[in-house]
């Protein structure tokens, strides 16, 4: 099995409405009292690149098994890309954009 490195994006009511309009509502998994999460799966290479771009971020192997502590504005940008592309497969484009602007 290929190792997975998800990034969890929180979905509150406001974001859920946008997801629904993008036809992606089914991708959101309910976690707690209407708070949902979507998982953006990264390859090992993408994970390493993200950890390099955001030195404070880390892959939490112990509890969440996800890439945590990515700055909130970067995650916001990932969510916006999901809505624009109507797809969860946005990490490559995200990384390209960051490198272009950085």
């Amino acid at each position: 099995m290929v190792e997975k490195y998800p990034i969890n994006i929180w979905i509150n009511d406001e974001r859920y409405e946008k997801l629904r309009q993008a036809g992606l509502a089914d991708m959101a998994e309910e976690v707690l009292a209407g708070m949902r999460v979507i998982k953006l799966q990264c390859t090992e290479k993408q994970k390493d690149e993200i950890l390099r771009l955001y030195p404070m971020a880390k892959f939490d192997t112990a509890t969440t098994k996800s890439i945590e502590l990515i700055p909130s504005d970067a995650k916001e940008e990932m969510f916006n890309l999901v809505i624009r592309r109507k797809s969860l497969d946005v990490i490559d484009e995200f990384l390209k954009n960051v490198k272009k602007s950085g």
Binding site: I9, W10, N12, E30, L32, A33, G34, M35, T64, S72
Partner: protein, 418 residues
């Protein structure tokens, strides 16, 4: 007005008027104390630790470790000791019957009448109080870091702390609180111990405990209050910042989630030992001194890792002699969100265990970290706004303690130069 605290003993304030103190401290040998000892000096002087009037001598520490009492038999579960280097005691020639000046960051704080100077076996203390000697337990690390010599004796504050905003508004001494409680006409007060910004799981814990405490009292004019007592002590990276904890609890009342006449937020200075059941007893004693009649204990109260069973802190109350504590424990299971019930509900009531969604500190922190406002069933929007305001105002942008916050945060209290 005389107020009775733990052990049916009068709450005594040991504070010297400044004019007298200025004269009294002249020429005394000085010992600069750690942050913990400074906080405990203040606690002792205002009666938070009634019946203690000073740091413990050997006999009291022995009794606490061996019998969970003071030497006079009063229930007590955690040693309160002043630790110094033996070298310093020798150098300064400090001996029994001396009066010394305790300073904190170089400023005068309190005088101590030396009654006992002694060494103690730390492993014995850790085993007795924490039931552990493993360094992974933060309480064990704390005991192991104590300096090698303890000085016991009565403490008198010579320089009262000046609490800084926003904490000044929440600093009530035991006497202040007794007055507040009388003013509000509360016959019963249920304590909530916290070091967290509240989510609705905490809110329901408090509400459930209020129902339990209010019990048989008439309901036309409410006579039961909730005292949210925030613990202020050392912080670790990733903890909620202190300012957010007190102001967000206060926000719950300001926004009407608790009525104005049944809710009060205050702070106590205390360095958590994470002693699980023994710490639960200590918290009960502390809140008894604050005038509380009931104390809520949830799952894994004051525990750490898997050192204690989640309900050890409930069961210890079955083992103490009747009449040794004038405060009743309210034992609480878990509050969770149930999608079938469609509400936050209680594990002792809801029969959809397999569908339950547990409140998890980690999940909620992750939402806050990402600046995604949680649904109001989990986290009140006003509390979310307040926690973010605190992040900006006090936390250098974060609601959680960062290295920068730990290094540069504003002090909780300051001492004057006298």
């Amino acid at each position: 007005m005389i107020y009775t605290g733990h052990g049916n003993r009068e709450i005594v304030e040991r504070i010297m008027p400044v004019s007298e103190a200025r004269k009294r401290i002249r020429g005394l040998k000085k010992v600069d104390v750690t942050g913990r000892c400074a906080r405990e000096c203040i606690d002792i002087a205002y009666g938070f630790f009634t019946p203690l009037q000073g740091f413990m001598g050997r006999e009291d520490v022995d009794a606490v470790c061996e019998k969970m009492t003071l030497k006079d038999g009063t229930l007590w579960s955690i040693p309160i000791v002043l630790d110094v280097e033996g070298e310093e005691v020798k150098e300064k020639g400090i001996k029994e019957d001396d009066t010394i000046l305790l300073t904190f960051s170089g400023k005068p704080l309190a005088i101590l009448e030396v009654e006992d100077i002694f060494g103690y076996e730390k492993a014995k203390m850790a085993e007795a109080v924490l039931g552990a000697t493993d360094e992974r337990h933060p309480g064990v690390r704390m005991i192991n870091k104590l300096k090698d010599t303890f000085i016991g004796g009565k403490v008198t504050l010579v320089n009262p702390p000046e609490f800084q905003p926003p904490f000044d508004k929440f600093w009530y001494t035991p006497k202040d609180l007794r007055e507040k409680i009388a003013e509000r006409g509360w016959k019963r007060v249920v304590a909530h111990q916290t070091r967290n910004v509240p989510h609705t799981g905490h809110e329901w814990l408090m509400k459930g405990a209020w129902f339990s405490a209010n019990g048989d009292l008439p309901v036309e004019k409410l006579q039961t209050g909730i005292l949210v007592n925030c613990i202020i002590g050392p912080k670790r990276e990733g903890d909620y910042i202190d300012e957010a904890i007190v102001l967000c609890h206060d926000e719950l009342r300001n926004s009407g989630y608790f009525r104005e006449d049944i809710h009060l937020v205050s702070i106590s200075l205390w360095d958590m030992r994470y002693a699980g059941p023994k710490e639960a007893i200590f918290h009960a004693i502390l809140r008894e001194n604050l005038g509380c009649t009931h104390h809520m204990f949830g799952r894994d109260h004051a525990g750490v890792g898997s050192f204690y069973d989640p309900y050890d802190a409930h069961r210890i109350f079955d083992e103490i002699p009747e009449g040794s504590l004038n405060i009743k424990p309210i034992r609480v299971l878990e509050w969770w969100y149930c999608p079938v019930c469609g509400e936050v509900t209680y594990s002792g009531l809801c029969g959809h265990k397999e569908k339950r969604q547990k409140f998890s500190g980690t999940l909620i922190r992750s939402m806050l970290q990402d600046r995604v406002k949680p649904t109001k069933l989990i986290f009140r929007p006003e509390v979310y706004d307040k926690v973010m305001e605190c992040a900006k105002k006090y936390g250098f942008g974060s609601p959680f303690c960062t290295k920068r916050y730990l290094a540069e945060r504003g002090p909780v209290f300051v001492l004057s130069d006298m």
